[in-house]
């Protein structure tokens, strides 16, 4: 590093601290927002992706697990079972529903994604039981452990909705969608609890095939022969579910990321610029001594790069340290810090440094070395 750049930078510690702090804040905000996005993206598709179904069947126009705006007749399941490629058919009743702890300790209402499944088949039921019993019996529910942690619901508690209520008999994991969690009941319990009329309506059918490699081809063939139904592979359905949630968040996130970038750029740019203006006379002295504009640009660029590198290290460090802590404090604050994202942020910081260094270039070029002769 050039002597002048290093000395200019480190001789004014307060300015350096402000500059590094601005870049660090920007990196931290970008890091946290990206990690939050990754965390949510990971969570909201997890259950759908983990369910060992080869195909998800929905009614036309319904393409995600969360809104679950699909209505299929129970008879469709019997027809699907007749197909030679199909091994298992599991009907699901899925509805978002607001419940509250009922009984002696009534709590605030909260949302769950009620999943009615056939315990005899098992497909679409709890992914991993952590405590209590599973499958649930009539009038019983297995909740996600995140629901238990977040709302203080324990085995033996009752979850109510109007006159209906369910007894919590177990806790499972892998069903956390961040803003809601799945809760498993039998098909009949779901129909009763939701007051479905007629009660034989189903939301989805999950299929397993004898030959998994045939799923795309079978999906296409079935869609052609059954216009009212849509067939998704597990990955497709998980992606659609993710898109439904993240598609709404992404534009907001992009705006926030741009704002964070501009904050970092503004702080770094302004401090580099004001430092250049303040040192105009010294740059004039260097010009008078025969140093070229190119040398002066290099001085400013190096100052900007060092500021940005220090800011990045501080901001990235804060992201890695603060993210898990924040997640512990706020359950919805689900973050996933990826090294690829940190690499991308380092690239954005580099761009920040280059732009910040470019701002005073014209000013440097305009410095007239003759002015240094004025006392």
């Amino acid at each position: 590093m050039l002597l002048v750049a290093r000395k200019n930078l480190f001789s004014e510690r307060i300015r350096l601290a402000i500059s590094v702090g601005g870049v660090a804040l920007s990196v931290f905000l970008i890091g946290i927002l990206l990690s939050l996005y990754r965390g949510w993206d990971e969570k909201v598709g997890e259950y759908v992706e983990m369910v060992p179904a080869d195909l998800w069947v929905t009614s036309a126009g319904a393409a995600d697990f969360i809104y679950a705006a699909s209505i299929l007749p129970d008879g469709a399941g019997a027809q699907l079972k007749l197909l030679p490629e199909v091994d298992t058919v599991s009907p699901l009743i899925v509805r978002p529903v607001e419940v509250a702890k009922s009984g002696g300790d009534t709590g605030e209402p909260f949302d769950i994604q009620l999943v009615g499944y056939d315990p005899a088949i098992g497909l679409g039921g709890p992914l991993a039981v952590r405590s209590g019993k599973s499958p649930p019996g009539p009038g019983e529910v297995v909740i996600d452990e995140e629901t238990s942690e977040r709302y203080g619901v324990e085995i033996g508690d009752r979850l109510g909705r109007g006159a209906e209520s369910l007894t919590v008999v177990g806790k499972s994991s892998g069903g956390d969608f961040v803003f809601t969690q799945v809760a498993f009941v039998t098909l009949d319990t779901a129909a009763d609890f939701l007051n479905l009329d007629p009660p034989d309506r189903r939301t989805f059918f999950l299929l397993t095939l004898h030959d998994r490699s045939q799923r795309e081809a079978l999906a296409k063939r079935l869609e052609a022969s059954a216009p009212g139904a849509v067939f998704f592979t597990g990955e497709e359905f998980a992606d659609k579910t993710r898109d439904r949630i993240m598609g709404n968040i992404l534009p907001i996130l992009v705006v926030l990321l741009i704002v964070a970038f501009i904050v970092g750029l503004a702080v770094a740019g302004l401090t580099i610029y004001t430092a250049t203006v303040e040192k105009s006379r010294e740059y004039g002295i260097l010009k008078a001594e025969g140093f070229t504009n190119r040398f002066l640009y290099r001085v400013v660029l190096e100052q900007s790069l060092v500021t940005s590198v220090l800011g990045f290290l501080l901001g990235a460090g804060a992201t890695v340290l603060v993210a898990p802590f924040a997640q512990d404090q706020v359950p919805q604050f689900v973050v996933f810090v990826r090294w690829q994202d940190l690499l991308g942020i380092s690239g954005a910081t580099l761009v920040m440094a280059l732009i910040a260094a470019f701002i005073p270039v014209r000013r440097l070029a305009e410095i007239d070395p003759v002015t240094v002769f004025k006392g």
Binding site: V4, E289, T292, V370, V372, F373
Partner: protein
Amino acid sequence: MATPEVILSLEGVSKVFGSGERAVTALEDVSLEARAGEVVLVMGPSGSGKTTLLTIAGALLRPTLGTVRLCGTNITELDETRLASIRRDKVGFVYQSFNLLEALTALENVRLVASHGTRNGTMPQERAKELLAMLGLGHRLNSLPKHLSDGEKQRVAIARALAKAPALMLADEPTANLDAERGHEVVELLRQKALEMNKAVVIASHDHRIREVADRVVWLEDGRLRPDA
């Protein structure tokens, strides 16, 4: 004894700032020479054009008319990059207000210039130390300018100018910010180094006390050299 080499030659140099009704003539038909080992003192009142003369001689400003030669090279028509390299290699400046870089120590101020461009064989660090020691600042190598007296600052500035091993040294009011004793000491130092190192020195000043150190004194008034001074 052979006549010393002409280091700086100004022939019919004029400088006009602005144009039309706002044109201001700073220098008019000035011709001047400075030879190796010679100290030329340019005297004149404020606004007489002394600084303009120095900046033209130092390849910082182009004349409107006339020719400037430095070590035989006509620098009048050179582009900015070539002028910068002329300043880097051939001209050492000593300013009225010292113009040291505040964040750099005395040694670093000198070393920065010594390490810029091609120098004689000595390493920049060693050369900078030698020069500062030679100017009596061996004990102030690591001091920042803010911790130096004005006299010390000017000696660092002289060391910096000498660090380039220039053929021409230009000093603009080098005693203006110094008391009489320090001022005399600094100018004497410039003269001594000019003789020892065979450099041409041009000093612009209106301080009459330093006339005795000059080999030649020229008087500048309203941008013209007065031959009867």
